[in-house]
């Protein structure tokens, strides 16, 4: 799947490589790069996932990075009712009729 100019996409770039991260950052964190992502509209010609691209964000800033998602989604939801909370709710009915 290709993104074409103007498509809403997500890009990612490395802000600091592991060796550029300052002292005092915990070792497990410092072993990884400090990365950033942003959503915006694709500038320039069509591109595929993994390509180096340029986007224009909602406020008009132009930022460069690797194309990681076309039509970025947010998949968070409400989850399913948790048994521990359902049980708590039932118990409240018994304590406060």
């Amino acid at each position: 799947m290709k993104a074409t100019r103007g498509d809403h996409v997500r890009i990612r770039w490395v802000v600091l490589r592991p060796e550029e991260r300052p002292d005092g950052v915990p070792a497990d964190t410092r072993a990884t790069p400090f990365v950033a992502c942003v959503n915006g509209h694709l500038e320039g010609p069509s591109a595929s996932i993994g390509d180096r691209v340029r986007v224009r964000t909602q406020i008009g800033r132009v930022l460069d990075g690797e194309l990681v998602e076309i039509g970025p989604r947010t998949d968070h939801g409400f989850g399913s009712p948790q048994p521990e909370l359902l049980a708590a709710g039932q118990q409240l009915r018994e304590i406060l009729p």
Binding site: V15, L16, E20, R21, P22, G24, V25, P26, D28, T29, A31, T32, P33, F34, V35, A36, C37, V38, N39, G40, T57, Q58, I59, G60, R61, T74, H76, G77, F78, G79, S80, P81, Q82, E84, L85, A87, A88, G89, Q91, L92, R93, I95, L96
Partner: protein
């Protein structure tokens, strides 16, 4: 070509922040250790009335103060005879973006517009981002929110993902970053590149904006019952909520109202650890911020933090993650109020505290926050399980942050757990002594530290001398 390397940008932090806040913090420095806190706060020109006027124009504040009759009944069902204070909640979810953070954002964004900035930048994974984005949208300013969202696997907590979505819904650009304190570097670089205003949580504007919350609570309770509240419980993280609320309560003349802090207990988890990041279910309002921001308030993104919680805190209660989730369920089931779990941290502490107070006493919980996809106990507990955290029912005292979440198996399990305030004050003083090299204090510094710690001058001097002796012995 401007050098935007980590070292170069950090070296320019002073000038970047002065331009981005319009405040020359050097004006307030006194004798090294001390600074003129009151002078800094009054220099921005927002007393309670001025802050309230800006907020009214922005549709912020004057939220309902609700008495929680059935919740109080539940407290009395488990409290000793004669105990069980009346519990009230300030329904801050009624603000435009769904939390009390709109109060802070209203002033910061108003100030940015007044000073002619074209946009604002805020670094936060909390509700404040949505608040700044909302206020910026309403004033036609551009907004960038920088959020710590995901670990090195690219996994993000549902609660923060939701906040990112909300910021984008208000038209903001959201820079989502991986775990690490270098978020501050990206903030500085972004401020420098854009020339935008820093809507930091820690400027005098952001703290003065909260004072109206405390003022509204104290004033309304006095009008209804002829006296101020006996205690107000405040969720504590960066310190602005507690500081601003306390300032407002005192400004309303409620001098005897006890100011009680509450944080989710996440002790043992490292806040900058990639591994620990997704093992916590609360992204703010927890000890990972609450303790260090109390003991070292100036560790923030401005030279001098306007949030000084130790100046006002009279008690500090800890709440487990399981207790906060449980109270979210209780609030929905007993009061018909479905609100976000992070905002119910202080409610869980209040449930414990009310059991120690007399039935004629008034206890106010000073916030709620919006709930929705991601910001919901079911979503957050499901996520915790997916990260290997166990969830069970039992005694919340058995909860181990990062390993387990224990939902109380009975409301009577929710009891006060205090964090020792003198320990925090000593830790605060140790940090100051370390930076000052243990030298003798000037009278200005001693009296400043007395105000900072709520310790009398003699106690500050004695503690300081003990620290110096211990250092010399080493």
């Amino acid at each position: 070509m401007i050098d935007r390397s980590y070292a170069a940008v950090m070296a320019r932090r002073g000038e970047i922040l002065q331009r981005a806040t319009g405040i020359d913090y050097r004006d307030f420095e006194r004798d090294g250790v001390a600074f003129d806190y009151e002078g800094m706060m009054s220099s921005v020109g927002y007393d309670v009335a001025a802050a309230a006027a800006v907020q009214r124009e922005a549709g912020v504040g004057r939220t309902p103060l609700l008495e929680l009759h059935r919740l109080t009944e539940l407290v009395r069902a488990v409290a000793p005879k004669g105990k069980g204070a009346r519990i009230f909640v300030k329904d801050e979810a009624a603000n435009p973006s769904g939390s009390f953070k709109d109060r802070r954002a209203a002033l910061a964004v108003h100030e940015a517009a007044k000073r002619g900035y074209r946009g604002v930048v805020a670094a936060t994974s909390g509700n404040y981002g949505a608040a700044v984005a909302s206020q910026a949208a309403a004033r036609g300013l551009r907004c960038i929110v920088i959020q710590e969202v995901f670990d090195s696997r690219g996994v993000g907590q549902p609660e923060i993902v939701e906040k990112g979505r909300k910021c984008e819904a208000y038209g903001a650009e959201v820079l989502q970053v991986s775990v690490g304190p270098e978020l501050f570097y990206l903030l500085l670089a972004t401020l420098e590149e854009t020339g935008y205003f820093s809507a930091s949580l820690y400027t005098p504007y952001a703290v003065a904006g909260i004072a109206t919350l405390g003022y509204e609570i104290a004033t309304e309770v006095k009008e209804r019952y002829g006296r101020g509240p006996d205690a107000v419980v405040v969720t504590h993280a960066g310190g602005g909520n507690l500081t601003g609320t306390a300032v407002g309560i005192r400004a309303a003349g409620a001098t005897s109202t006890r100011i009680v802090a509450a944080s989710v207990d996440l002790r043992g988890l490292h806040m900058a650890s990639d591994h620990d990041f997704n093992r916590k279910s609360f992204t703010t309002g927890h000890t990972g911020f609450g303790v260090p921001f109390a003991t070292d308030p100036d560790r923030v993104d401005v030279p001098r933090n306007a949030a000084r919680p130790l100046r006002y805190m009279e008690r500090y209660l800890l709440v487990s993650q399981g207790e906060a989730f449980y109270m979210t369920e209780v609030l929905a089931r007993t009061q018909g109020l479905e609100r976000g779990p992070a905002g119910n941290t202080s409610l869980a502490a209040a449930f414990a505290l009310a059991q120690e107070m007399a039935t004629d006493e008034i206890l106010v919980v000073q916030e709620t926050e919006y709930t929705g996809a991601g910001k919901h106990p079911n979503a957050q507990l499901a996520f915790a399980r997916s990260q290997g955290v166990t969830v069970s029912r039992g005694d919340p005292a058995d909860e181990r942050p990062g390993t387990s979440i224990v939902i109380p198996d009975h409301p009577s399990r929710i009891q006060c757990r205090d964090l020792d305030l003198d320990g925090l004050r000593r830790s605060y003083l140790r940090g100051v002594a370390h930076r000052a090299g243990g030298r003798t204090l000037s009278p200005v510094e001693t009296s400043y530290l007395s105000a900072e710690t709520r310790w009398p001058v003699e106690r500050v001097t004695a503690e300081w001398d003990a620290l110096a002796a211990a250092t010399a012995a080493r």
